[in-house]
């Protein structure tokens, strides 16, 4: 018993505040609609979706050490499949969601199979190339995807007793699904599999010499990451009610990269906080000027140079500086 206690010491130190913090955050998010205007409810819903997108991306980036520049592919395939299923097959949330998540996961499997063979910049470039292929397909396949106009009129049907066309209901629906996914992702990064991912990030060659098929684990990480990006995508389709191919463009793939860097890629919820900050900044700055990208870019450059661990990473370091062991 003592052994387990002491071996878990480092974790429990870091975990206890995380658990209290999570309870407070979830309570806050659950009560938020009571105080928010319609506009802000819409904004908060999108924030939740993007937070999930960023966390799913960071499984590959922060935990496995692979920088993908093509993650909009899985997000947009989830979204488009969900929208198309509802428009062309049946306006059923469960059916459309399952179809979207499955296709996003399957696509991640195929693309990942090729990408995980490469390292660093080559990996990033190949994911970017595949991402642009997906964008081109969505953009040019007029008869299926509506081309540049995209999909319009995606319904928000009832789900059992709940009327999702009401934004408050859709907000809670999104909150529940995002929370479930975040818990699963948290378990994954703290599982044996999660530790193997971290070891691959630290030294992908060495890990083979203890008998681990490194590429297989990179691929599994890629697929799980694609799956949860798919979940974010399927939530996005009925939320927006229309989809355009720009959600598959490489600039969309860059968003979770920014979010992870802003919030902190080495802390589990860092990218989610980064997502909230990114979207807030984008909203504020774009209210003043069309050149919001310049200002947002400047903020990001500042972060990368002066706060390399991201905002959450910075706060975390300050809070735990006292308790940390000195070498």
């Amino acid at each position: 018993m003592t052994k387990t206690e002491s071996s878990g010491r480092l974790f429990s130190l870091a975990w206890r505040p995380q658990i209290y913090g999570s309870v407070i955050v979830i309570l806050g998010l659950a009560l938020a609609p009571l105080f928010l205007t319609e506009f802000l409810k819409v904004f908060a819903t999108e924030m939740l979706i993007m937070a999930l997108f960023a966390l799913a991306f960071n499984l590959l980036f922060g935990y496995t050490g692979l920088l993908s520049f093509g993650h909009a592919a899985y997000f947009s395939i989830g979204a488009y499949t969900c929208g198309l299923t509802m428009l062309k097959v049946s306006p059923s949330i469960p059916l459309a969601f399952i179809a979207g998540i499955l296709l996003a996961t399957f696509t991640a499997w195929i693309i990942g199979y090729f990408c995980v063979r490469l390292d660093e910049i080559y990996f990033a470039m190949l994911t970017l190339a595949f991402g642009m292929m997906i964008h081109t397909i969505l953009w040019k396949w007029d008869s299926m995807t509506g081309g540049a106009d995209g999909l319009v009129g995606i319904p928000r049907p009832h789900l059992w007793l709940f009327d999702l066309s009401n934004i408050t209901t859709y907000y809670y629906f999104t909150l529940i699904i995002v929370c479930i996914c975040v818990v699963i992702l948290w378990v994954i990064v703290n599982s044996p599999f999660g530790l193997i991912l971290k070891s691959i990030r630290e030294n992908h060659e060495r890990v083979e010499f203890v008998g681990i098929n490194m590429r297989r684990y990179r691929l599994l990480s890629f697929v799980m990451s694609g799956l949860f990006c798919g979940v974010a995508g399927v939530l996005f389709a009925p939320f927006e009610m229309s989809l355009a191919p720009d959600i598959a463009f490489w600039t969309k793939s860059a968003e979770p990269v920014f979010m992870s860097l802003l919030g902190g890629m080495s802390i589990f919820l860092g990218p989610a906080v980064g997502a909230a900050i990114y979207m807030y900044l984008k909203e504020i700055i774009s209210g003043y000027t069309e050149l919001w990208m310049i200002y947002l870019g400047a903020v990001l450059i500042g972060f990368v140079i002066f706060l390399p661990g991201g905002i959450v990473g910075f706060v975390h370091r300050k809070l735990y500086a006292v308790g940390k062991e000195t070498p």
């Binding site: 480092l10 699963i184 044996p192 999660g194 193997i196 630290e202 060495r206 203890v210």
Partner: protein, 252 residues
């Protein structure tokens, strides 16, 4: 199984880098539970030989047999799973993981628990005990929560040996375990390596430059020079071998 069983055997093993033959046709067998030191001047091909055995490099020609099966051309992880483990000449670990986690990775691999995604790692009782046991063996229990990258050089070498041991190897390849160590750390490593063979029941191949280490622990010495084996025998025989003296002339 007795001490005469050949555990590792190479036949006509060659590795060429362009025109250079780093390993130039090595035929050798290693017996079970024997501590063999491979020595030779810099560039003799010792590390390349280790790399060929563990799958880090593919041989230009020749074969490697481990316990009678052909392992030539297998990937490092396949070879590791068959029971060959190693430490590297330059410390090769997971710097931003703790000491505990470094060992843990190898323990999970051995216990085939690495694909578990929906169980918290800390709840695996068997792996917890096993990781603790390995930490005891290498004497790093009190540093289990330190970041690996912040350890002293000597502790990192011990940790790497622990990682290599944690997969329960049949054959352990140590590439200059005392390299860069002070005399005290070297003594500790020698004691540790001796203990390994007595207690852990494994076969050890050792590349080492420190001759006092070699002659104090090796049961058999193999001398390499320019990719070939020029001498092979008991420490007493090697000490007086004229070719070995020639190869080392001007080196030390």
């Amino acid at each position: 199984m007795n001490g005469d069983t050949t555990i590792l055997e190479t036949k006509g093993l060659r590795k060429h880098f362009g025109d250079l033959a780093a390993v130039a046709g090595v035929d050798i067998g290693f017996r079970e539970k024997e501590l063999t030191a491979v020595i030779g001047p810099n560039g003799a091909g010792k590390t390349t030989f280790f790399n060929l055995v563990t799958g880090r490099l593919k041989p230009t020609s020749g074969k490697v047999y481990f316990r009678g099966t052909d392992i030539t051309g297998l990937t490092p992880y396949q070879i590791a799973r068959k029971g060959i483990s190693r430490i590297f000449q330059i410390t090769n670990l997971f710097p931003e993981l703790t000491v505990y986690e470094n060992i843990r990775v190898a323990v999970l691999s051995k216990m085939r628990e690495t694909a578990r995604m929906l169980t918290l790692d800390r709840n695996l009782k068997g792996a917890n005990d096993e990781t603790g046991r390995i930490l005891e063996i290498v004497g790093l229990s009190d540093k289990r929560n330190s970041m690996c990258g912040l350890l002293s050089h000597g502790d990192q070498r011990l940790l790497e040996t622990g990682v290599a041991l944690a997969i329960d190897p049949v054959l352990l390849l140590l590439d200059e375990p005392t390299g860069g160590m002070g005399p005290e750390e070297t003594d500790e490593m020698v004691k540790f390596t001796r203990g390994l063979i007595e207690k852990q029941d494994i076969t050890v191949l050792l590349v080492e430059h420190d001759m006092s280490v070699v002659f104090s622990i090796a049961e058999r010495i193999v001398v390499m020079h320019q990719g070939e084996i020029i001498a092979d025998g008991k420490p007493d025989e090697i000490k007086v071998d004229i070719r070995v003296r020639e190869a080392y002339l001007g080196e030390e």
